[in-house]
Amino acid sequence: MGKEMVNPRSAYGETLIELGKKHPNLVVLDADLSKSTKTILFAKKYPERFFEMGIAEANMISTAAGLASCGKIPFVSTFAVFATGRVYDQIRMDVAYSNANVKIFATHGGISVGKDGASHQMTEDLALMRVLPNMTVFAPSDATQTRRIVELMATNKGPMYARIGRASTPLIYKKEELKDISIGKGMITKDGEDVSFIACGTMVDHVLDARKILSKEGINARVIDMHTIKPIDKKLVLKCAKETNAILTAEEHSIIGGLGGAVSEILAEEGLPCRFRRMGVKDIFCESGEPADLFEKYGLNAKHIAKVANELIR
């Protein structure tokens, strides 16, 4: 039985339209990628509130900050690699330092970008954004959660960054299941006591599959969907450490500085006796290829995750 696949980018574009209706101040900027980021949906509905900025991302970020200073709620979109690394100083000064109400919503994060290659596979964005004061950082896991996160971004003040992938992903949640979602509060998507998977973004689905593999071996894994990377849900991390004594983080991102980095900082400072592994991109540039081939080669599919979890708790 196949999973129901939905593209989170479409969810983003559709939610922008809904929010545009509720918030006349909401404006959208894009840098020649509106068909890919799906801001084109908003552009068609509200052409007077959509600003095509051309292939000029640095200018786009600072412009968004100016808009925010006048009470607008700018959503800024492009690929994750161009939305963060390329425009870091503009974000640092004009958005984070100024605590501007700018919402950077990036698509094409992680290695599931696939064939375009490492130049386009952003695996450092969560780290880059997490280290900035005032910045809130999200990595939603499916289309339903993407919708809710976009709503949270629009209705809460302050600089925020969210990243989703390029590909369609399995639906994990029904709308009702996310009515209580809030910033900085991780979700226990599946409970278990033998090991905790703490994952974000597309990796949540992979760890859910790994959980199924492990259950056949009598291992009951907990799955935490850590949609907010910053502020991270420290309480929940500590709860997992105490109750399962083993934590494995999984992200489509470098193991340095992102979700795994954030969780390891908490564990180290608390000095808890908890076994711990970070799964992600191991400080390398990956390569072009089908996403499934890349997840296999770089050890990020359910099979690999289950194996590492198994070793961790033996």
């Binding site: 068909k35 390329r86 064939k115 375009d116 290659g117 390569e287 072009s288 290829g289 089908e290 080669k297």
Partner: protein, 286 residues
Amino acid sequence: MILKPYDDEVIKKLNVTAVKIRKHVIEMLYRAKSGHPGGSLSAVDAIVALYFHHMRHNPKKPEDPNRDRFILSKGHAAPTLYAVLAECGYFDVKELKGLREVNCMLQGHPVSLYVPGVEASTGSLGHGLSFANGVALAGKADDKKYNVYVMLGDGETDEGQIWEAAAVASHYKFDNLTALLDRNFLQIDGNTEDVLRLESVRDRWSSFGWHVIEIDGHDIGQIIDALLKADEHKNQPSMIILNTVKGKGVSFMENNVDFHGVPPNEMEYKLAMREFDVLQRRLEAS
């Protein structure tokens, strides 16, 4: 400068080579089921003229310090660069089959570290002209005679970095540098003039202190003449505005923004190949 003479025979041969490269490009993209046909096809004739006629380079010595350099700033046209490098002999033509596949050399966008003949890693638009400036500066500093050529997309020149680099090149009088602008009037979200107006392109580059030449970017004779003029021009960098057609050579891709980043399906692939075969026969019979 040694002037390489050319006649109708030379042009004919280069035109046939250009068709061969276009065939490779379409085949590679069809096989990879992803990639960028439009901007790869519009760039073919200039890159063919550079590598198969104009530049001083030796595929057996890709690291030769005296070689002329070509930098593909619009990195999404990688298939064209790869096909040209392979046909020149930088690596086995068989590698083209592995474009964008895992464990293969040819990445979706050019990587200098992995591919012999690729001068700069590109794919994030807007960097190439600055990189070329660096190469030009080193050439001046070391008193080398090589020339640097860099190809930019027209949409790519939305980037502020391009204009920072444009200012530097004219300030330092890089007459060993020639930029080629693939002026196909399309980017992803539409016509360049609707997305973010570029005109007057000619006036913009002139006002930045560049020597500007404007030609038909699919006429190989004009391309060669323009390159010679650019090489000879002193005290200024040269900009060759190549008036091109995005998707050039495949009727249904020409001027069609939908083929910026979508590969041909099976039927489109076959149609395209048939068009190339007809063109090739016509050229060879001429």
